[in-house]
């Protein structure tokens, strides 16, 4: 897989494993411990995601975006990063986030509506979740430009969906990156749907990868359910970014097996057959088969992981749920380095109004009766 040799007009999908978990080409040069790590993060993310869905259904968590099905794309990419590379996420990033040292409890807090969940461990170069689609892409370019100005040696990985490629910010960001020649890797998780909008209504382009040609740098198409292929391609792109300070666009073809967010009902817009088809391509299963053949995966080991995941998830739920209520000052205190007078008095007003509250807000339920 030579990035320079990439042919823009008809990108072929890069695979290391076939859909049955069989090696296609050469054995990739990855240490067993790394393989085990990859499997762990994919598995842990799956479990943590499933738990979140339960919490949400039980009314213990708000709306969130499940990652089920995209674990290989996320973990394959994030494990290709170095610690001091920058990670610039969209909003469906549990797998990469966990692998990038963001404790699960943070993620749970965030989706329980608690801003404190946005705190990132101090020494990790991760940005917080970006909700407005594709808007984080130019930030990645700016970070990469900063790295370049500082002499390079690091790279930025930003991730986004297929839908994101329709936004102006995708275009402006990638075009800047091409002109500035910065060490940024643009990683598209093409899960084939943007909520209910299928890929073919999103763009008339055959692939996302070929869009890179418009910006004068390589675009690579990879099987996003093949964690080894994702890892390989991303690693090369990041390395090239670090060494030569140049950008790459990667399209990882995958599938969102769950709903868009917990507010979504995918049965409204996509067929059961399609879902079935992709459930069979489960990236965790596929990787497990490979690992099993290599003698790395065993039932015992799986039991260990189950237990470990369960414990960590329980801890995370406890930590997220047993947190003291936010202080009203939190709404204001991070607005500016120094709070303007006006904001201070708004803060005081809020505190006073909570302290002196007499009338509890009732739910708006003027069924039929409203004027």
């Amino acid at each position: 897989m030579d990035l320079e040799e990439h042919e823009p007009s008809s990108p072929k999908m890069h695979q290391v494993l076939d859909e049955e978990g069989e090696l296609i080409g050469e054995e990739p040069d990855i240490e067993d411990d790394t393989l085990k790590d990859m499997y762990w993060w994919m598995f842990y993310a799956r479990k943590a995601d499933e738990k979140a869905l339960k919490l949400q259904r039980q009314g213990r968590m708000g709306t969130f975006a499940p990652i089920k099905g995209q674990e290989a794309a996320q973990v394959g990419a994030s494990t290709a990063m170095k610690d001091d590379d920058w990670f610039v996420p969209a909003f469906r990033e549990l797998g990469a986030y966990l692998q990038r040292d963001v404790a699960l409890e943070q993620n749970y807090k965030y989706f329980m509506g608690d801003a404190r969940g946005n705190e990132i461990p101090g020494d990790v170069n991760n940005l917080p979740i970006a909700v407005p689609v594709s808007t984080q892409i130019p930030h990645a370019v700016g970070l990469a430009w900063g790295i370049k100005r500082d002499g390079g040696g690091k790279a930025v990985l930003t991730v986004f969906g297929d839908g994101a490629t329709s936004e102006g910010d995708f275009h402006e960001g990638l075009n800047f990156a091409g002109v500035l020649n910065v060490p940024a890797v643009f990683f598209c998780q093409n899960n084939q749907w943007a909520i209910s909008v299928p890929f073919e209504k999103q763009t008339n382009s055959e692939t996302i990868a070929q869009k890179a040609h418009a910006y004068g740098f390589p675009g690579v198409f990879v099987d996003g359910n093949d964690v080894l292929a994702v890892h390989e391609v991303t690693k090369k792109a990041l390395q090239r970014a670090r060494e030569e300070e140049v950008p790459t666009l990667i399209e990882a073809l995958t599938y969102r097996l769950s709903m868009h967010t917990t507010a979504d009902d995918p049965t409204r817009y996509r067929s059961e057959e399609e879902l079935k088809e992709w459930e069979e391509k489960d990236p965790i299963k596929r990787f497990r088969i490979y690992l099993e053949k290599k003698g790395i995966w065993t039932e015992d080991w799986q039991q260990e992981l189950e237990k470990k995941a369960e414990d960590k998830i329980k801890e995370a739920v406890d930590a997220a749920e047993n947190i003291e209520d936010p202080d009203p000052e939190e709404m204001f205190k991070y607005m500016f380095e120094v709070l303007p007078e006006d904001l201070k008095s708004q803060m005081e007003y809020l505190k006073r109004s909570l302290r002196e509250k007499e009338i509890e807000e009732e739910k708006v339920e003027i069924e039929g009766g409203f004027p």
Partner: protein
Amino acid sequence: MSEMNIVDAVNDALHLEMEKDEDVMILGEDVGENEGVFRVTEGLLEKFGEERVRDTPLAESGIVGVSIGLGLYGMKPVAEIQFMGFMWPALDQLSSHASRYRNRSQGQLNVPMVLRAPYGGGVKALEHHSESFESVLAHIPGLKVVIPSTPKDAKGLMISSIRDPDPVVFLEPKKLYRAFKQDVPDGELVEEIGEARVVKEGEDITLVGWGAMVPKMVKAADHAAKENISVEVVDLRTIYPYDEETVHDSIRKTGRLLVVQEAHRTGGFASEIIARAADKELLSLKAPPKRSTGFDVPFPLYKMEDWAIPDVDRIVKKIRRLIEW
């Protein structure tokens, strides 16, 4: 008459106008197969087909820009921005073009588009899903800004918005989408754009608001009534054009003004209302015109959201303060 919530009512208006006028088209993210993330476009794709109801790529500036082109051609696009927080990328098209083509072309061209968006907080949404920046739209000359707070108004105003030959931004308070039902006349129903509605008559103080603040104002009025304060509640329904007459009539009657606004305080539309009242009705005012508003902070994640929005308690206290002033 049918019992409807706001979602039903907007949907009903869309059905009626699409039946009546072939040129009415629907476009936006997830408005087709999925029928809108709030189901406001339910049944439209099925009834009118993809020619007239179209899921678009994920691109808000594109949605508005393409709608402008459709409007210039003679279509009547009703475009959706999925949440108001995602309208920012479309502001350039709104302010540089939608609002200007009639003027720029010396009246030769016009853009008969409606831009719908759910707006406002209170539904435990994610970041960027609870924004209210209607004052920005009202500051753009050439746009009308309509904000219904009841099913009946939602239907009547949507019909008027579609028929309006000029661009209308139609903001739907999502907190109220399914909050209550109301009897709404079947078939044709027209509510004039630019007319406020006196929701409740009163003598001592005028409350002015719009969108999801309206039921809060009504509740606050009920509370105040227990303390023998008679509150008049005005639902603006349209912030541009602004119905100064109705508001100032009320101020002249009550002598007191409180504007309730969910949006950030500084530069919100409430300040415009107060500036006009202070200018033209200074002598009628028995107390300073005041605001109860959101704070000058981004709308917070949901654990703090109830704090971020004016509540009945705060409104009642401001009423008391103004009465006692």
